[in-house]
Symmetry: C2
Subunit: 315 residues, 2 copies
């Protein structure tokens, strides 16, 4: 939760949806063409063999190197109409018996901006079609089950966009950083996740996994900002500093996640997140690219339109 | 789901919240002072003894008689900042151990605009703090329980705003209009609802019950609009015309709800809803008035702020 950002919603009624932009081959030069970027950002930020968090500059703005905060917000607003339209098509398909869904998994250190993505990105979509789940420390009931039990219960239904604020990845991240599980168990979990995610994708769910990547210095500043503002004290937890002391352990745990759980079916994207405007633009863009790829069409009427018009007229 | 409307979100960061507006005594003359209306709209639209749906003009715009669509949208946008701020305070209290919640119950005939309220009003709030539940025909599992079972399971947790798209009132409305239950059972349900709602309010939940009131002609036009637009066919169900044939039965069932279930603890508001802009303005205003009355304060820090600043600085 937090203060809302500027947002302009265009009136979409009666407008046609922009044609999907052809995805360019991702190349290093794709970074730098500013707000008119029309390449494949998902490919640009997708984890490759050998990607570690340290190899990604948290201050960088790939695909937007010549832009700034205002340009970023304008570019985000420019995607709103198409994003809303595609989400509505997905929802409509779900209502018409389709089985497709999309699940956005957000991971990141404390203060990395998961809540900011909810307000700046998720809020662009119709709330009726979105189901947000924030995963906290497991409850007693949840602890009595396998770690994926609570995840399966929170998966989005047909036509919905699910958003996970933290996820099953906590069970390998915290498990490793705080040494809550041994290596054998952690191995089992890494493998178990891959099987689970493959099944999920096979069942019609598009999985979009993003790590919001901030630097240790940025986290310090954000924690200090929270402490300096009485209206943000409720967001601060002294335990955050204890977690921060394990920063390097967490970074190593993330790197192992990138190595073991970024799969062809469900790749990870590392989103540089020191710049909040970039983070929101990038997540929106990645979502949009995945929705476009789903080739979402309006469901056909399963009734006789003219006959129904006559029935309504006569009623 | 549907097309999104214009929406301007002001950047609230660093701004103070406007002072609560003193509620004027609701009088007939409160209607008509346009967008600068500063009376108590909740009181103005609240059901009184003898109120029937037929006694409320669905085209009317109480509290806004001199306004129009553009003025309505501007007046709605002007409430966004305060609404977001109060919702965040409620959420913060919930995180800090508080037990208060708010539940918005939306009832209305097909096409009355419940979905429009989700997009135009509920979407003003941070999605992390909102839980929407749409109640459809009861599932087999739900039918094995008392009609309030599924309602209780969907109640918002501490700090959250729950929104019901249809509700337990369907069990007296459909039950009566379609003659699915006899008078003894319907009586039991009316009474059962009052006890349930009183307990809910006593437990710290503010209940805001609204009926979106459209005319039969307006419904016809909206159904025809859906049939005329292939991107809206998925919203149309031939069964809607069968329900429409029972219009008068439903109106009578609603009137009995107003008579029996508009209580001091949980009164109903009848919101004229032929004008979509008015409907959204009115619901937002009613929500805002109820949140203001909760006197929501930021939770106090339960840690030593200066000691924590030093810990973060040293980390």
């Amino acid at each position: 939760m937090g203060k809302k950002k500027d947002k302009d919603k265009k009136r979409r009624k009666g407008r046609s949806v922009p044609e999907p932009v052809a995805a360019a081959e991702p190349t290093p030069s794709a970074a730098g063409n500013g707000p008119s970027f029309d390449g494949d950002l998902s490919a640009l930020l997708r984890v490759r063999p050998g990607t570690s968090l340290a190899s990604v500059d948290a201050d960088s703005t790939p695909g937007f190197a010549s832009g700034d905060k205002e340009a970023g917000r304008a570019a985000l607003a420019a995607m709103d109409e198409e994003l809303s339209d595609l989400q509505e098509r997905l929802y409509a398909q779900g209502r018409a018996g389709g089985n497709r869904r999309l699940l956005l998994v957000l991971q990141g250190m404390d203060t990395s901006g998961k809540g900011g993505v909810m307000r700046g990105v998720v809020d662009l979509m119709d709330p009726q079609g979105v189901v947000i789940t924030a995963f906290k420390a497991p409850t007693e009931q949840e602890q009595q089950h396998d770690f994926l039990w609570r995840i399966e219960r929170a998966l989005p239904g047909p036509g919905l966009v699910g958003v996970f604020d933290r996820s099953h990845y906590e069970d390998v991240l915290i498990g490793r950083a705080r040494r809550l599980a041994d290596e054998v168990e952690l191995d089992r979990r890494h493998q178990s996740i891959n099987g689970f995610e493959q099944d999920l994708v096979d069942s019609g769910c598009v999985l979009v996994k993003c790590i919001l990547h901030i630097s240790k210095d940025e986290q310090k500043q954000r924690l200090l900002d929270r402490l300096a503002d009485p209206t943000k004290h409720w967001k601060y937890n002294p335990g955050d500093v204890d977690e921060r002391a394990l920063w390097e352990d967490y970074q190593r745990a993330y790197d192992l996640v990138l190595e073991r759980n970024s799969t062809p079916a469900a790749p990870f994207h590392v989103v540089p997140a020191n710049a909040k405007w970039y983070r929101n633009w990038a997540i929106t863009r990645i979502l949009l690219e995945h929705l476009r790829a789903m080739d979402l069409r309006w469901p056909e009427a399963d009734f006789n339109v003219h006959a129904e018009m006559a029935r309504v007229q006569a009623s």
